[in-house]
Amino acid sequence: MLEGERKLPHLFRPGRLGRYAAPNLIKYGACCVSNYNTRDGYITPRELARTRVIAATGCGIITNQGAYPDPKGEGKSYFRQVALYDDKFLPQFEIIARSIHDAGAVAIQQILHAGRYGGIDLGYCVQPSVVPQTLPHFRPPREMSKEDIRRCIGEHVDAAKRAVRAGFDGLEVTSFMGYLLASFNSKFTNRRGDEYGGSIENRGRFMRELIDAVKQALPEHPLVVRLSGAELMDAWGGNSEDECFELMRQAASAGVDMISVTVGWQEAPESSIGRDVPPGHWNHLAARAKRSCPGIPIAFGNRLPSPVMADECIGRGEFDFWEVCRPLLADPELVHKAREDRLHEVRRCIGSLNCLSRVFRDLPYTCTMNPALGHEVEPEYAVTSAAVKKNIMVIGAGPAGMEFAITATRRGHAVTVYERSGAIGGNLLGYAARDLARPDDLMSIVRHYEVMAAKHGVEMKFGTEANAKFMRSVLHRYDVCVVAAGARTDMGAYAHVAGRERLVDALDVAQGRVQPGRRVAVIGGGKIGLAIAESLAKLGAQVTVVEADKRIAGDVMPTFKWRHMTWVEELGIAVRTSSRLESVSAAGALVVDAKGAPTEIAADTVIAAGPRKSNQELFAEFEWMVDELHGCGDALMPRGIDAAIHEGYRLGCRV
């Protein structure tokens, strides 16, 4: 027994799903559609390469991402979602099932009819009743007739049979986040007057008939149903928590082999999986499902990213299988690291929701923390042994520099990182400390780099200012220099501002070099300005944000904009948009709006958090001093952590 298995005895216990034995109690959840496939539903080599990585994660049960079951595409929710309505799709599914079995896991195929969120290529979606969308990027609804319902159940059965013919052991039907099954179950969207609507017994009829039809067709193959423990739509006429559990009992009675408990609808007014939700927040729903449906295995994983927590929950009998997806996007080695007692090496999912932000922009999903995700089919993204081993110097120990350094070291290069400060992290250190959601998530990036740099033997030289003189002192010692010196506030952008010498740099505030007063004006309503403003307001300062654009949070990840806007309102931060800074004085800031109207903002500190400027000067200084000179991250163009990590990795793979 490996040390990690001894420490996490519940998680690594063998399990069972129907007649299939699983080597452990970890289920890879089909939490997210990749958008890697063709517009007409065929699985691509990109997807197959990705699923080979998923198969190798070490999970006992692996759920392949949801396929839509109908030829019209009413169930299709994502532009490049896979289809399973015809035998022509089978060859690629066979490859996926085989790779899951080769890895020793139970193979489950999810069938995803998106219902309310479907019909992406059509001008409509189908639901039990016509309840208009609250998120207008989805299609206008049409009510399903009883004939539609019968046909839809038949299509699910046919898709399930196909999946089994392709080699999958079992099926999963998802009622996640408001998809078709959920919209029948919920009072919010089911307002039918026939036997499929009204009472909870009637609303659950579609689900029971679906379960029954699949089980009758494939009695030997386990069927999993994903059901909401809480819709978070009850304020809007949706199901109460009690009703959600009654529906679980109905599913259990109808013969499902496992219930996967989920939380929230896509249109719910509160967060369910963002990093502002503390890990373990929803565990009580799994525990209730376990009590409500004795004898039915319960899988759960919403906002439960830690294997240690999952092990404890299973040990306490709160659920049976840890269902995990996003943490395995960030680090596909997570389960293996847990088994080998290397959890300190895990690259944590920071809950940026970059994956989902991209999917809902109809783009393939990627991961902030895992630059190779989605590029597994491309050799250019693989960490391979370097043909020529080089001595490499890196300027800057922020995410871009560290990502590069670790990747290049793994390839056999000798890498030394020169950092001006005394720590790994760069500007991220200051901003992470001011994050209102979960600073620990962002700090986990820094800790990961500290651990991996030590593990792989990256040489760290702290307290070193990189400049031409320094470069001359190391002349001919290095083959490659990578400038990853980040970016700074562009104070030159305020050259026209009277009294600009009174401006305080946002970076100095973030890193604690300047303590602002109690009345603060923050110039710039992007992510940096907002992080500073929110943290100061939380400490009791009276804060005004001034933004030249007509809206704040312009550079914030789409799925997190609302969170900043909520904090701004909750913390009472005043916002002046379409406004620019005119002058700074001892009394505060004078700003002018789009119509030229001036406003005095009383402030004892005015913080410049506006445009940033890359620290590019070293490129010119080092140009004739080293064989190869490269740059990555904000040193090329100020953006953020995603670009920093991805560019650092790509350069590390290439150099």
């Binding site: 016509v130 309840v131 208009p132 969308q133 609250t134 998120l135 207008p136 990027h137 299609r139 206008p140 986040m177 304020a235 809007w236 006429g237 896509q266 249109e267 007014p269 509160e270 967060s271 369910s272 999986i273 963002g274 929701l353 989902l356 809902f360 007509k550 809206r551 799925t559 997190f560 904009k561 609302w562 969170r563 806007m565 909520t566 309102e569």
Partner: protein
């Protein structure tokens, strides 16, 4: 307040700039959630704000359900939401609506697609009344 169309017209005039980009004929409905959740009766009504040549006009119209509501956007208010607009507290209603949306007390049912709404000039209005708080998978 929801039933007082004249007062709504005055309120809308006070925030006229926000509605200026709306295409003529753009219509927004405001209704109590209790009416949306129940089966509509003959007495069910909604307030409709309509962009007309001269600005915004509010009027009461019968509400017979989602399918027949001739509006681009239907704003449903729960009890707290309705209370927020009672007693002449409609001043600064966009801010109030935003607060209600953020707190889950107002829900927006879109009868048009996002691009249709944007083409009809709703972009700034949607932002101001709190669409940014409504999201997917968060």
């Amino acid at each position: 307040m929801l039933e007082d169309a004249q007062r709504w017209t005055r309120t809308l005039e006070a925030e006229a700039a926000l509605f200026e980009p709306l295409r003529r004929g753009a219509r927004i409905g405001l209704v109590a959630e209790a009416i949306v959740a129940a089966r509509p009766t003959r007495a069910s009504e909604l307030v409709v704000w309509e962009r007309v040549e001269t600005g915004m006009r509010a009027a009461l119209e019968p509400y017979a359900g989602f399918e027949s509501a001739a509006v681009d956007l239907l704003v449903a208010l729960d009890e707290d939401g309705v209370r927020a607009f009672e007693g002449g507290r409609e001043a600064g209603f966009t801010r109030t609506l935003r607060r209600l949306a953020r707190g889950g007390h107002a829900l927006f049912f879109a009868r048009r697609s996002r691009s249709e709404l944007e083409e009809a000039g709703y972009d700034d209005l949607l932002y101001e009344i709190g669409f940014a708080y409504l999201g997917t998978c968060r």
